[in-house]
């Protein structure tokens, strides 16, 4: 059927599916509302998937939008999309909340004389903007974020047609320095494409590629492929992280070198020097670079960067030996005023090692418009000078994300007519005169091109929930309303027409493209050679403003990104992957620095830079340099239901303490200020998703050295797997103490007549701790978000959590209420991420204590939780050693899903009411749905036919779900690992169905 029908989905949302179902007493749905005309692809009760594209960050992952009766209920990765191959990060999954956000603008809004916004009609709004534009002429400007190629090309033409002054693309974390570096070095203005999957030595100079880098999901998958355990013995890929702080990405490295921030370029050249001297790299590299690099000897680089000379020598030699090494240049957090030189130095290292053209591709410039901070600053200057009469802001929140020092907010005062296209309120709409709300990406047409060769379509999957219009359609209408020559230059049709025309220009079938999701090609470097003046890079220590003992590091938040995720409740409540703090800001500083300041965990400190002061609680840890204070970007909003605390600011916005400075190529510099800190006397109690990161030798997350893996052949009995834990982490004591560890076969813990025993294998070596699974679980299973205060009370509802364990922990200390702070030494990294969920125990401690048999063992080996039987004694949760059962202290569904959010609930999962226990069910609704197909075809459910939401979302495929009774299944093959396989709290004889595969500690890189 044509597009009309899909958008015609529902006159009214079908009641028959019972979306807002709850257990307990609630008003029954008493009307059955059918379709007027039922679209032929929709059968009520059967989900329909549409291919689309995630627009949360410039990586542009492919989506499969799961819809039920015309409403999207979950975002999943498109398995055919080359960027994400079927998985999706937590940010991408939470983006569904934008469509159902309760505070979205219902209509165009205009600020009245009283300063308040009032709704107006579209015709009026468009006429108004048309008149203002006609009046302003060249004094009107457009400022906005990344856009797809079709919209971007249209906007260029539109700006010209209406005679506007111009257009500025502004993306806070855009890799402008990197693009500047490729231009300087190779003469092509392009964003390099990194492929880590074939590499045997990965150096990350602080790009944090697993969380906020160029393409986090893709790079996580590539890292997992490169380090695949099956290949681990042969290829032995190593990953070295170079940066001031043990970030989530660093936690996954084999070795951490705590370089002084801003000296990454020096270090890269120092490493290149050692590598080339030791016969590494390419002929050309040695010939061209070796002489020039001589002055970057290990000793002087060590002195400047703070990385020991022997480590530089050792890693340099390893680079020389490596077959396919790759180095990633720093990201936003480490972008200093010399960021272009720094990125250039790292790319030079890549070039010297022969990675350019291999693991690093430099595709030809496709002429796309790139973000330019310099242009944004120039625009601010003309605004301040009163040269801008109309400013159109789309896809960005500059009032929040530009440094206060840039003076954007003051400059806005000089602009008489500010128009925002945001779909919901933010700091910028709070200062706009006119708001023309855009559709959310789930309601709109569009496209994206994450890199040359890959083009991805965006298609609407739901009828717009509010009276909104696509940005491009609004501009078309404005252009037409202006009449005369402007109207004549507006193209025919709508945004949809433009997208269709752009995509079918080559004769392609649009429907076919929509079903695939786009055009997925490859982009390779074309004739790359080093420019003559490449060696003129001024690689030196960073220039930092102001006095102070610390360097202030503003880190892109793995969950909130540049702050755009702050009003999506899941992202606030999933614990930060490193600190596990929810709903707040914190300042990371080293334990030594904290001691010197006299502050302890949670004590409020004042951080002062030349640009401003911030007050926030301290989080002392081992994993950070003594001279650095790190604060995540993303909190400190003034607008937003979840982004603020009832209108008060939630946390701090670190951007306010940053001077506004650029690097050599005009990109935004983030590493710009020194800071001083002092104790204020206040204390803040963090709401933590995980209290302590010290596992106290309890063998919750095990690790095994690579050597043990290589040495141990197959054939060891599975039962000894847990005992085979590398490093002898106190497991002997556990055995001696309990002494009655029983062997068991999880496959036998189901009814002998049943074909199934559902089980899981979780590979801790693949798990990066990114928490995409947590978001997937929450959205699939209608899990409520409870808010900061309830998290503080330990009432987090998440069925699945990522536990972060630093080493095996210690048995010392920890008598007080505060957590034992992680030690995290510099050097070899031993951080273990354990995805903890209901273990579906064969001998579940929760079952015998339930007085009403609300929890029981079913014939397929699942630990069933029957909500409608539950009377809320909480005995089961008290008896569960894994703490995976969650209790509904309140009618969370009433508080958590304000209208229209109930529309995104999964109708296949009951919403739990007050007084009911809940927990992971291994996505039993997905098993039930796979069973339908299998039964219809009179066959058992095949391997791979059903998977859980967490396993599906995982970028690294760390989670494998399947039938333990099927000998040929992947889960059996993975679980049957005599060296790495272990079961959590095995000694309690709970007979869990989840097998963890111990993390592989690869140790320091050998020279």
């Amino acid at each position: 059927m044509p597009e009309f029908d899909r958008r015609e989905f529902l006159k009214i949302v079908g009641a028959s599916a019972g979306a807002a179902a709850t257990v307990g007493c609630s008003d029954p749905v008493s009307k059955l509302i059918p379709y007027v005309v039922q679209p032929e692809e929709i059968t009520p009760g059967i989900p329909v998937y549409y291919a689309s594209t995630c627009l949360e960050c410039p990586a542009a992952c492919g989506l499969h939008v799961k819809t039920r009766e015309g409403r999207p209920i979950k975002l999943e990765g498109n398995p055919d999309h080359p960027v994400n191959r079927g998985s999706l990060c937590a940010r991408g999954q939470s983006a569904i909340g934008r469509t159902y956000h309760p505070d979205r603008f219902a209509k165009p809004m205009r600020r009245g004389a009283d300063g308040k916004l009032a709704a107006i009609e579209w015709d009026e709004a468009i006429a108004l903007l048309g008149a203002e534009l006609a009046k302003a002429g060249g004094r009107s400007w457009v400022l906005g974020g990344t856009m797809g190629p079709t919209a971007s090309e249209f906007l260029d033409r539109w700006v010209e047609a209406v005679g506007a002054g111009g257009r500025v693309v502004y993306e806070p974390f855009a890799p402008e320095a990197l693009v500047g570096a490729t231009k300087t070095l190779f003469g092509v203005e392009t964003e390099p494409i990194f492929d880590l999957s074939g590499s045997d030595l990965i150096l990350d100079f602080g790009s944090d590629f697993l969380e906020t880098g160029l393409s986090p999901v893709e790079h996580a998958r590539q890292l997992a492929t490169a380090r695949d355990a099956a290949e681990a013995g042969r290829r032995a890929t190593r990953f070295v992280y170079i940066g001031p702080r043990l970030s989530m990405t660093a936690s996954n490295a084999d070795e951490w070198l705590a370089a002084k921030p801003g000296t990454e370029g020096l270090l890269a050249l120092g490493l290149a020097n050692v590598a080339l001297r030791n016969g590494g790299g390419t002929e050309a590299g040695r010939a061209v670079l070796a002489p020039a690099l001589a002055r970057f000897d290990a000793a002087s680089v060590a002195q400047q960067s703070g990385v020991p000379a022997d480590a530089i020598e050792r890693i340099g030699k390893a680079l020389a030996k490596a077959k396919s090494p790759v180095a990633l240049p720093p990201g936003a957090a480490l972008a200093s005023r010399r960021a272009t030189a720094t990125c250039g130095a790292v790319l030079l290292l890549d070039w010297a090692l022969g990675a350019i053209g291999g693991a690093v591709q430099l595709p030809a410039d496709d002429g796309r418009r790139r973000s330019s901070y310099r242009a944004a600053l120039a625009l601010i200057d003309s605004m301040k000078a009163g040269k801008v009469s109309v400013l159109l802001v789309h896809g960005a929140n500059p009032v929040y994300s530009l440094p206060a020092a840039a003076g954007f907010a003051e400059a806005l005062e000089q602009v008489p007519f500010v128009v925002s296209f945001a779909s919901g309120p933010d700091e910028t709409t709070a200062r706009a005169q006119l708001i023309l709300p855009d559709h959310t990406p789930l309601e709109s047409w569009g496209d994206a091109s994450p890199r040359p060769g890959v083009r991805s379509l965006v298609q609407p999957t739901v009828r717009p929930l509010r009276d909104t219009r696509a940005f491009v359609d609004t501009l078309l209408d404005v252009g037409r309303a202006m009449g005369g020559s402007v109207a004549a230059r507006m193209p025919e049709g709508s945004f949809r027409t433009l997208v269709e025309q752009a995509w079918t220009a080559s004769g392609a079938d649009f429907k076919q493209l929509l079903s695939v999701g786009g055009v997925f090609g490859d982009a390779r470097s074309a004739g790359i050679s080093l420019a003559g003046d490449a060696l003129q890079l001024e690689v030196a220590e960073p220039l930092l403003e102001g006095p102070g003992q610390f360097m202030l590091l503003a880190v892109p938040s793995p969950l909130l990104y540049d702050g755009r995720g702050a009003d999506l409740p899941w992202l606030q409540e999933i614990g930060d992957p490193v600190t596990k703090i929810t709903w707040a800001s914190w300042a990371e500083l080293s334990t030594a620095a904290a001691e010197q300041l006299g502050v302890e965990y949670g004590d409020v400190i004042e951080v002062e830079t030349v640009a401003g002061k911030l007050e926030l609680p301290a989080y002392p840890r081992g994993g950070i340099r003594d001279d650095v204070i790190a604060i995540a970007v993303g909190q400190g909003h003034r607008v937003g239901r979840w982004a603020t605390r009832d209108g008060e600011r939630r946390g701090v916005n670190v951007i306010e303490a940053l001077p506004s400075l650029t690097d050599e190529s005009g990109g935004r510099a983030w590493l710009v200020a020194k800071a001083s800190a002092r104790k204020t006397g206040g204390h803040y109690r963090f709401a933590l998703a995980q209290h302590s990161q010290d596992q106290r030798g309890r063998r919750l997350g095990l690790a095994t050295p690579l050597a043990a893996l290589a040495a141990n052949g197959h054939g060891a009995p599975a039962a000894s797997a847990a005992a085979a834990e590398g490093g002898g982490h106190g497991d002997g004591a556990a055995h001696g103490e309990h002494g009655h560890l029983k062997d068991f076969e999880p496959a036998k813990d189901s009814d002998p007549n049943s074909l199934y025993r559902w089980g899981m294998a979780i590979d801790m070596d693949r798990c990066t701790g990114c928490s995409a699974c947590v978001a997937a679980c929450s959205i699939e299973n209608n899990i409520p978000v409870v808010g900061e205060e309830e998290v503080r009370r330990g009432r987090l509802m998440s069925w699945l959590r990522i536990e972060r364990w630093v080493g095996n922990g210690s048995l010392e200390g920890g008598a007080g209420l505060d957590p034992i702070l992680p030690d995290e030494p510099i050097g070899p990294v031993d951080v273990r991420h354990t995805a903890m969920l209901c273990q579906q125990c064969g001998a579940a401690p929760c079952e015998p204590v339930c007085p009403v048999i609300a929890t029981y063992h079913n014939e397929d080996g699942l630990n069933g939780m029957i909500y409608n039987r539950c009377i809320g004694t909480r005995y089961c949760a008290n008896n569960c050693p894994y703490k995976v059962r969650r209790y509904n202290w309140y009618d969370n569904h009433i508080h958590n899903w304000p209208e229209p959010m109930p529309l995104m609930l999964n109708p296949e999962v009951t919403v739990r009411g007050q007084g009911v226990m809940e927990k992971c069910t291994f996505c039993v609704q997905r098993i039930a749905s796979a069973r339908q197909t299998a039964k219809d075809q009179q066959r058992p459910i095949a391997d791979g036919e059903v998977t859980t939401a967490c396993a599906q979302a995982c970028p690294t495929q760390a989670i494998t779900f399947g039938n333990l009774k099927d000998e040929s299944s992947t889960v059996v093959r993975k679980s049957d690992d005599p060296v790495r396989g272990f079961r959590s709290l095995h000694e309690l004889n709970t007979r869990p169905a989840v097998t963890y595969l111990a993390k592989i500690t690869r140790g320091p890189v050998e020279g």
Binding site: K11, V23, S30, T43, P44, I46, E859, I866, Y867, R869
Partner: protein
């Protein structure tokens, strides 16, 4: 007396009651009806009965008679409730489905005129729900169709009923939850008799 036997008795009684109600005069064959410009007296009578305030069940926005469509004309249940054999949800026919036939038939009937008003306004018909399982039940229609459970087993003698209601072995709670029928014991009885799954997780998750 087993519940099934009891149910049969009740069905018989219901049929007898509807016969006594005067459905029987002048039954033309379906072919005859389609040929007539004017609707049959049976169709007119069926409409009246569908809005009979004395009969049990809620008044529907359109005087639609299941007895006429499913009973007399022998239209298959799945013709209108077309998702039943594929989906967990049986689904209520779209207005378009009704109009598929009624652009031709029954133009003189009041019910069809009401139907046309909905169609002209492109509004859905807000039917009153009769058979409703609680939200913590994940009932799958398609499994039951595949297992050849007749629709009447749960929905009662729909082909005999002009005005649809839960059949007479049902009493209503103030919450409109059927207590005697569509309650769990009733489901489990049938599952037990037919060796269907009795695992709680089959229906509750």
């Amino acid at each position: 007396m087993s519940p099934i036997q009891l149910r049969r008795r009740i069905v018989e009684a219901a049929i007898a009651a509807s016969l006594a109600g005067g459905l029987v005069f002048g039954l033309p064959s379906p072919r005859d009806v389609s040929a007539q410009a004017e609707s049959s007296p049976a169709a007119k009578r069926a409409q009246e009965l569908a809005w009979d305030d004395a009969a049990p069940g809620p008044k529907q926005p359109v005087p639609f008679s299941h007895a006429l469509h499913a009973g007399q004309f022998q239209i298959d249940c799945l013709y209108c409730h077309s998702g039943t054999d594929r989906s967990a949800v049986a689904g209520v026919p779209s207005v378009e489905t009704c109009m598929g036939c009624h652009t031709q038939f029954g133009q003189d009937l009041e019910g069809i005129q009401i139907l046309k008003q909905y169609w002209d306004a492109q509004e859905p018909i807000p039917w009153e729900q009769i058979h409703r399982s609680p939200e913590h039940v994940q009932f799958k229609h398609n499994r039951h169709v595949a297992a050849e459970v007749p629709c009447e087993r749960c929905h009662g003698p729909v082909g005999e009923m002009d005005k649809l209601s839960l059949t007479s072995d049902t009493i209503w709670w103030p919450w409109l939850l059927p207590s005697k029928k569509l309650e769990m014991g009733w489901c489990v009885n049938c599952h037990r008799e037919n060796q269907a799954s009795q695992d709680c997780l089959t229906c509750h998750y």
